[in-house]
Symmetry: C2
Subunit: 338 residues, 2 copies
């Protein structure tokens, strides 16, 4: 039985939606949840919802780091912040994974302070899932993009390790037996891009345990060519937010047209599996849950605006990742490289 | 009266569509066009179209650089290639600007070989226009993004110069009196991103001649916040192609729904000025015409798949940029900085 530590106070809609999401999980699964934060407030919110008390513990934390606070300063000043207390629970083995919808920078710093980095890993990576078209049978409709902002600039070896980490995560969590891994670049040829990209391409091609398909370009991100897309944080962050921005526009268009036109519905179905796919594309940041990879412990970052359903989803993903041994899979991949 | 040298043989649809486009320009304007390439073939194609012979000259060039050829090797081997001959005509003052729909790498190398870089400019930049939502009255519906692939990695000073060049181009060609210039980054705060971005932000803020609005993020690209968006080539290339990819998907959706639903049409009109705006978004690469900035001469790169209308548009943009003294404006901006 896995225990997941949840930062009850982090997120735009915390603690209300976080507690509601965890209450739902307690009825749907046998995951042990530890809600970390203001005990009285959490208990009050639980009483308002239906929940299974056998699956939920509350662990007190007296402070909260706000969404707009400077992460470094906040982590330094608020030793009793819910995110730090929750990370400590995981580091001490009292929980198996961490979930937070709060301040991303503070969460990353909390992990960096309390978790061990997997031996051999040089940089941790923030990953994000997003839906795209699928191209082969059984392909997950979500792709994994990393890094999306933890490491601004990357050396070749760091990109290679991101590929190994992303592949391990996709293999375990999305159950794609041999995820297709690609480098995001400005051309498909192996010699394209910065020296770091050229070098990363060369190393990735030589790794036997990896299904490396080469370089892909920006327009390929919305297609099903690759399951795991690797890039440095600056590029990944811009690409992810651009996807988010265009998805919002598309959602607006879909909302205006979906109910009206059979041709529109047919077109959408032909394109990518229906209007639901489009809705998903607009919602992916809310429902995705982004792992930070490279630590010995699992951390799933839920979107800041996560409603209860998204929190519940993040808790389930965290439990799955811990149960299926994602850090162990990454460690094995890195060890095999050396 | 301005003369524009046009690489008649460059592009997926060359020479047919290139010659057709120039024939149209000869009837619509008094721009002097010099078609560079296979004389006989060009003459044949002209005879098939309507054109004004007073506005068109043909200049022979015996070789062609194909779209898929390795740029470095091709430029080295084919001294009589149309793009090289056309660039020489401009360098010798026999034409005022260059237009090509051919191999981008070869075109950039041709310019680098024959054109002078504006004194003080460290790196040239490939810019691209794309449509986005507009936010203030009189705002051009096209924004300028640079660099999109000429310089993979940039120093802070290079980013600053891109801002000056982009602002000068937008001021002269799109007639926005004081274009809003932004840095594409992974957060809006001045301290976000790589050290180069932080430093560029600091310098840009101190420049009095520039309307610098700070950092924008990926999702802001499709909004009207900024008129000129500055980034290094790797980031710009990924962002541009991602815009292209999602625009294609949107176009498909629009095509399926546009005729059917009054609500869809209303939505589109509310959103960004109607279905035409969406069509434009899908077509922008074809009709945009991308300047390479930083040389003393104007070069407008038309999209490889340019049909006649796009070629005609690129020729007109080139004539406008030369007439309105874009390189001089850039030189003045760079000089003011020092």
């Amino acid at each position: 039985m896995r225990a997941i530590a949840i930062d009850a106070m982090g997120g735009d809609l915390a603690p209300d939606e976080v507690v509601k999401g965890v209450a739902a999980v307690s009825l749907q699964t046998d995951i042990q949840c530890v809600l970390v934060g203001d005990e009285r407030r959490i208990q009050e919110l639980l009483e308002r919802a239906e929940y299974n008390p056998e699956h939920i513990d509350i662990h007190p934390a007296g402070e909260v780091i706000g969404m707009a606070e400077d992460p470094k300063q906040a982590v330094k000043d608020k030793r009793d912040a819910s995110i730090l207390v929750a990370a400590r629970l995981v580091a001490e083995g009292r929980a198996d994974a961490l979930v937070s919808a709060g301040n991303t920078g503070a969460a990353v710093l909390a992990c960096a302070r309390h978790f061990n980095v997997i031996p051999g890993i040089r940089k941790t990576a923030l990953a994000s899932v997003y839906p795209r078209q699928t191209e082969y049978p059984g392909q997950d409709h979500l792709a994994l993009l990393l890094d999306v902002g933890a490491t601004i600039r990357c050396e070749a070896l760091e990109l290679v390790q991101f590929a190994i980490m992303g592949s391990a995560y996709a293999k375990r969590v999305s159950k794609v037996a041999s995820p297709r891994v690609a480098l995001l670049n400005m051309g498909s040829e192996p010699n394209k891009g910065s020296p770091e990209l050229v070098q990363a391409h060369r190393v990735l091609q030589s790794l036997s345990g990896l299904n490396f398909i080469g370089n892909i370009e920006g327009n390929d991100l919305v297609k099903g060519k690759a399951d795991v897309i690797v890039c440095e944080g600056l590029v990944g962050n811009v690409a992810l937010k651009l996807l988010e921005g265009t998805a919002e526009v598309m959602m607006y268009v879909a909302g205006a047209a979906a109910g009206e036109s059979w041709r529109f519905r047919l077109g959408m179905r032909m394109m990518a599996g229906g209007v639901d796919r489009l809705r998903e594309l607009a919602d992916y940041t809310t429902y995705g849950g982004a792992p930070i990879l490279g630590f010995e412990n699992i951390f799933i970052k839920a979107h800041g605006r996560s409603p209860a359903r998204a929190v519940a989803n993040a808790v389930k993903v965290a439990a799955k990742a811990a149960r299926d041994g994602v850090p162990e899979e990454i460690a094995a991949g890195v060890a095999a490289m050396r």
